[in-house]
Amino acid sequence: MHDMSIAELALGLRAKTFSSRELTEHFLARIGRFNPDLNALITVTGESALVSADAADKQLKNGLAHDLCGIPLLHKDIFCTRGTRTSCASKMLHNFIPPYDATVVENLAQTGMVMLGKTNMDEFAMGSSNETSFYGAVKNPWDTAKVPGGSSGGSAAAVAARLSPAATATDTGGSIRQPAALCGVSGIKPTYGRVSRWGMIAFASSLDQGGPIAKTAQDCALLLGAMAGFDSRDSTSVDRPVPNYHASLNDSIQGLKIGIPREYFSSGLDGRVAKAVQDSLTILRELGAELVDISLPNSHLSVPAYYVIAPAEASANLARFDGVRYGYRCENPKDLEDLYCRSRSEGFGEEVKRRILIGTYCLSAGYYDAYYRKAQQARALIRQDFTQAFDKVDVVMGPTCPTPAFRFGAKGDDPVAMYLEDIYTIATNLAGLPGMSIPCGLVDGTPVGLQLIGNYFAEAQMLNVAHQLQQVTPWHALQPEGLI
């Protein structure tokens, strides 16, 4: 059952080949077997999952169930789940049980999906290797000596290891796409504002966006359709109808213009990754698409601008963790300053603290214009690059990451080496554009990803193109050995 796509599972549930309870038990069993090694989940909610599964079975019997009803699901531990610990993989929130659900959690629960648990991640979504989690790193199911990517490493690894057919994730600078690429699964970060951020613990508010990770583009289409939509509780949410992403998956891509930015094939890119990407582009051309050379001349500003804006916003967003109303509180504070200082220093990990300090620096008196304002201007230039590109092409494609999965500790002590991991994914967050990663080959036995960048609200088109490619390529169907 764990090899089946969501659409196939949905059919199986309706044909009574299996019940949601059986499906849920099956995936819970896989979690029980493989998670102790992979560490993809922080919390398993077996009991409540079975209750949800039984409710789903009842709904399915009544015949009025949503397409996703009864399908198991994992939530990244950044989405607040009422009554279930939501830790953001931080000691700071190790004891935090929200009395409310994130909109994404609510929307998916509404369909009758069954939550199996919460996935591991980089602490507060800050990281590209999952090594910053308070609960320990997630291992890449393809090679457990290697990182799964981050920050949604738990979600990507869980889907890759078939511990769940679907997982939610978030993407601030590549946190859906990079782990999806390194784990060989499909993930889409929609247009900024497409998916509500209510109840999604903020890292960098102007960049954060939730999205699904699943095996295929088709599965992503089903999931995104249920996750997306206007939410009056999120001021940055966009009031615009959600198209039926599934309906357009089989549209022809004849005549589709694909922009290939030359900046995304520069010196830092591993040649083997480049080749895998080129091979997919060739196939797309054979399917009728036209490849167009384009330039995104301000690409080099993406990483610097990101590492001003994201830490700046994070430094404020994480100020609420002060040991007073919830979360970690230090023992015996001697005064108020001590309460703040020790609760935060003991509750946050090193990378989180580093980013808070960087953000504080970039916003401090005398530096605001040189850093924050300048970065927001650079952001406008990056957006303009894409706007001009989309005058000529329908979708932009390139690698998701410069290299395949690396070994734990490989990036050493230098935060900048890790930051460059997101060199191709960050620009879309800065511009607010949708981005997607689908598997496009194996390098050294681990997967690499093809990135699709669409125009604003062009998710349907991206999913369509990805689905068409997945109809004629095998990569999405490969799975790591030893996890049968």
Partner: protein, 95 residues
């Protein structure tokens, strides 16, 4: 970009983070490497460019002035071990 000891001290104070004195040089080195990265921004020609507020240049939506949230004090209180008759307790605040 070189950071001084006092810079780190000040950033730590503003952020309410304790940085061990023994860690200062390591913290300094890592922050400096990140700042060297972000300093690449300085070369960008941004003259006359409006800083971006929202990717779609959207405006703030407004909500009706209605009470939609009712007393959930007890549900929130259990998230903290330091409350007293509904109040959150902190070491004495000195103005």
């Amino acid at each position: 970009m070189t950071l001084k000891y006092t810079d780190i001290e000040r950033l730590a104070m503003l952020s309410r983070l304790a940085v061990n004195e023994t860690d200062y040089s390591a913290v300094c080195a890592r922050l400096e490497s990140v700042l060297a990265l972000v300093d690449q921004l300085q070369a960008a020609d941004t003259a006359g460019v409006q800083p971006m507020a929202h990717p779609l240049n959207a405006s703030q939506a407004l909500r009706a002035d209605r009470i939609t949230e009712f007393n959930q004090q007890q549900a929130f209180e259990i998230l903290s071990d330091n409350t007293h008759e509904g109040l959150y307790l902190v070491p004495k605040v000195i103005d």
